[in-house]
């Protein structure tokens, strides 16, 4: 890599070389049977260069031909792709060395433990199709650039998902992210079983506006709309609904959203640098309901005249884009148990359908529940099918009744459960 960088610097002036390798293993139990084991080994190199305000790029699976990479990068400059001012400058970033290797346990032992878990669970949910999924892996990244940045990050990750699928389809599932291979907490599995059983009864309620208790694991589907709007690209392109609103209190004072790659809750997913070699740091998006500003990558830092926020991410074969990979919502003051005892009628969506479609930039959502649950005076009375929730995040997040003090790492972020005053609910009669 050093040699490639040297050649690229001599030819182009400003250059950046990246390397990435990852090994992953997945073990899958479907309907109570060990279905398969998959392993993956991947790697790639990329070269980015800047000349005369243009960005050139080349990628490869290996470094067998440096000259090919250099020629590709040269050819790509003709496309006149907009470039950042420069590549990242050297700066100290946080270090998060992995605490253990997730690959130490042989796959045979992982399978034994998983089947023992299966044997414990199956008698408790005979009606369910039981699915267990493990994913573990290690990665290594290195980035060098002509400014003297030399960043290496090694990491590992373990995730598990347990799901109880209803005979008619749809499932109650939960995801766990772990610093190392460890037991899935039995009390949390028992809680999941409780929800599954409650969902064996189907219930219907009239349409209208209802309070909704959003689980942490799916909250990212709504929060994603804030992320899209707070992206500096949306600012630079003139399409963000947040333009001109920095400092304005738009949402509930109970709501604080940051991108925080250093938070303990992220465990092995913490990052000291982004994929452009910029040190990461907590980036506030909403503080007590007030919009704080936009996050960027190096290109959009230049275009908006702001300093880089350490949120430039990319695949080895793609361009850097601004992304919040560590969204974090500050916890509230209510226990989850207390929220689940909310008097009256409350809808709990467990899984959403269609959250990726619609007018995300505007903050709209209209999602199917697959499933959803109905709580009445603290009791989960049944499953809501053929039902939808709709609204706009700028409206619903301005009327938050409570947040749980417990937080969970789900898809999209580190979030509490949130009780919203109301959303529009529709269900087939």
């Amino acid at each position: 890599m050093e040699r490639l960088l040297e050649l690229a610097r001599a030819r182009f002036g400003r250059a950046e070389v990246c390397f990435w390798t990852a090994n992953t293993e997945k073990l899958r139990v479907e309907n109570g049977e060990l279905h398969s084991v998959q392993a993956e080994a991947r790697q790639g190199f990329s070269l980015r260069v800047i000349r005369d305000g243009r960005l050139g790029m080349a990628t490869s699976m290996d470094l067998l031909s440096r000259e090919n990479l250099l020629s590709q990068a040269e050819a790509s400059l003709a496309a006149a792709v907009e470039a950042p001012e420069d590549f990242a400058s050297p700066a100290d970033g946080a270090a998060f060395p992995p605490s253990s290797s997730p690959m130490d346990m042989p796959v045979g032992e992982l399978a034994e433990r998983t089947m023992a878990l299966r044997d414990w669970l199956r008698p408790q949910v005979p009606e369910a199709s039981l699915n267990i999924f493990w994913r573990r892996g290690t990665f290594r990244r290195r980035l060098l650039n002509s400014n003297g940045v030399d960043v290496k990050e090694d990491g590992g990750h373990v995730g598990a998902r347990v799901g109880f699928e209803y005979p008619f389809g749809g499932a109650v599932e939960r995801f766990w992210s772990m610093p190392a291979l460890q037991e899935i907490p039995r009390d949390e599995l028992l809680d999941l079983i409780h929800w599954f059983r409650a969902g064996l009864r189907e219930v219907r309620i009239p349409g209208g506006r209802v309070p909704v208790l959003f689980p942490a694991e799916i909250l990212g589907s709504l929060i994603q709309r804030f992320e899209i709007a707070a992206n500096a690209k949306a600012l630079a392109d003139g399409v963000s609904p947040l333009i001109g609103r920095v400092g304005e209190r738009m949402l509930s004072e109970a709501f604080t959203l940051r991108n925080d790659p250093h938070a303990d809750g992220w465990r092995n997913w913490r990052r000291g640098y982004d994929d452009e070699g910029v040190p990461t740091r907590p980036v506030p998006l909403f503080e007590r309901g007030s919009f704080q500003g936009f996050f960027n990558d190096l290109l959009h830092a230049r275009k908006t005249g702001e300093g880089p926020t350490g949120t430039g991410f990319r695949s080895i074969f793609g361009s850097a884009v601004a992304q919040c990979q560590h969204l974090t919502v500050e916890p509230g003051h209510s226990s989850l148990a207390a929220l689940l005892q909310t008097p009256g009628r409350v809808v709990v969506p467990w899984r959403l359908l269609g959250s990726h479609s619609g007018n995300l930039l505007n903050g709209d959502f209209s999602v199917g529940l697959a499933p959803g649950f109905l709580i009445e005076d603290g009791e989960v009375v049944g499953r809501l099918s053929d039902a939808m929730l709709a609204g706009n995040v700028y409206d619903v997040f301005s009327r938050i009744r409570a947040l749980s003090r417990e937080r969970f790492l789900g898809s999209g972020g580190l979030f509490p459960w949130i009780l919203f005053e109301e959303m529009a609910f529709s269900q087939k009669a």
Binding site: A41, T59, E82, V107, G108, V239, S319
Partner: protein
């Protein structure tokens, strides 16, 4: 190359093994409001090894041939682990060995079109979408993928099949204060670059639609009678039923599998749904799937009755059916899973104008924003709609997401139009994105759809 892959595979001691090697050339261009934001040309490659030993199944993906021996060790060890813990062995339905090298099937090869010309075409279409004070951004993208798939297995199959796809997609954002609306379009296919030329009309209409949506009323949620346009019929079919035709979705769901037995009634007599990737004139076309099985036309619903399923070799053995050639992987990074090919509702006999007369009062849903399926429930989004009163198209409405249930909603299809249109590009995200899962059909009249919206 096929011979070399066969010699590698010969080093694997298993009851069955296959090795797929792919080289993938991709070009992606993004132009935002006339400025080139990305123009990437990449070549990637990788291998997928699958083994079956003593009834245990394992899969390994790797990018370097130097990792082959590692991959074999991993695969065999993993297969042994699986075999130890399974009550039932994996089985694969038998298929004949195939030895074939297929030609590259394009009229105007995109590889011969310069990057500069591709950028110029995207910019030309982008200019058509802008030029209005309320248009805040135009974002057009070009994507091209040329895959050369090489597949060998321990049964003697050796197949090389290239697949070339390209598309131009565009999203136009209109803005009025803090209200933002968008309209999108996509053109493309697998027949060559020529399908992208002369498509100005598709992109020019986006400007007017995006601006009009700023003034449109949000939809009122509830149960509505609807006419779906061709694109939405395709999405509806894909989400409402298509995934349930994939045998791996229902194989472990006993109640759903029982209710979806061949011969079950799912819709009225007028409903006929087919999966057909054999035709070479659309993006979904291929000859052999990623298990070396020739794809065939599969009637899925005939006169409202469930008539067929889509299979891999493994699910075909599980169900006691013939393999259908629908084991497909996105590219070298993935193992094949059961995927829909080109799925569509066959045209009916009702003139489109009559659908609106019969609708009376309701909503005309247009354009697709994708969808999702879980269990027997599904949802899909429309780009925009029109209120219909007394059979006449009236005001534009927006924010339309529709929800339904497999067993109720198909029965609510009251009439099928006599027109027909297929989408030009696919994009099903069942764990991996399959660009060749496209869909379409005629206009359809559907009663009692749940539409999310303000109450």
């Amino acid at each position: 190359m096929l011979q070399h892959l066969e010699s590698l595979l010969g080093r694997v001691t298993a009851d069955y093994a296959d090795l797929r090697f792919e080289e993938v050339d991709e070009t992606s261009i993004t132009v935002t409001s006339g400025r080139v934001m990305a123009a990437n040309v990449t070549t990637k490659r990788g291998y997928v090894l699958r083994v079956l030993r003593q009834g245990g199944w394992a899969e390994v993906q790797f990018t370097a041939e130097s990792d082959f021996d590692w991959a074999v060790g991993q695969a065999l060890a993993a297969a042994d682990v699986v075999a130890r813990h399974r009550a039932r062995s994996f089985r694969m339905a038998p298929v004949p060995a195939v030895r074939a090298t297929l030609p590259r099937r394009v009229q105007e090869d995109p590889a011969r079109v310069s990057l500069a010309e591709k950028i110029a075409l995207v910019q030309e279409y982008g200019q058509l979408c802008g030029g209005h004070p309320k248009i805040a951004r135009t974002q057009l993208s070009y994507f091209e993928q040329a895959r050369t798939r090489r597949f060998v297995n321990s049964e003697g199959s050796a197949i090389e099949e290239p697949i070339v796809l390209n598309r131009i997609s565009g999203v136009v954002n209109a803005r009025d204060g803090s209200l933002v609306q968008n309209a999108s379009a996509v053109v493309g296919g697998g027949q060559g670059f020529q399908v992208l030329r002369g498509r100005h009309e598709e992109f020019e209409r986006l400007r007017g639609l995006a601006v009009d949506l700023l003034a449109a009323e949000p939809m009122t949620g509830g149960t509505w009678d609807c006419v779906l346009d061709n694109r939405l019929t395709g999405t509806f079919t894909h989400e409402a039923f298509g995934h349930y035709s994939e045998a791996d979705i229902i194989e472990d769901l006993p109640e759903l599998r029982q209710r979806l037995s061949i011969g079950a009634r799912l819709g009225s007599d007028i409903l006929n749904v087919v999966s057909d990737s054999t035709g070479s004139d659309h993006v979904g076309h291929y000859v052999y799937d990623d298990e070396g099985v020739r794809v065939r036309r599969v009637p899925l619903i005939r006169n409202g009755i469930l008539a067929g399923r889509l299979h891999s070799r493994r699910t075909a053995a599980e169900f006691g059916d013939e393999p259908t050639g629908h084991a497909v992987a996105e590219d070298y990074r993935y193992c094949p899973i059961v995927r829909m090919g080109t799925v569509f509702v066959e045209p009916g006999t009702t003139p489109v104008e009559e659908l609106f007369e019969r609708l009376g009062n309701g909503v005309y849903l247009c354009g697709s924003r994708g969808g999702q399926t879980a269990g027997e429930n599904f949802t899909f989004g429309a780009q925009h709609g029109y209120r219909i009163r007394n059979g006449r198209k009236e005001e534009l409405v927006r924010d339309l997401n529709i929800s339904g249930n497999l067993f109720h909603t198909l029965m609510n299809i009251e009439a099928v139009g006599n027109d027909f249109l297929l989408s030009e590009f696919g994009g099903c995200g069942k764990g991996q994105t399959n660009f060749r899962s496209n869909h379409g059909g005629p206009h359809m009249l559907v009663r009692n759809l749940i539409v999310g919206g303000r109450s």
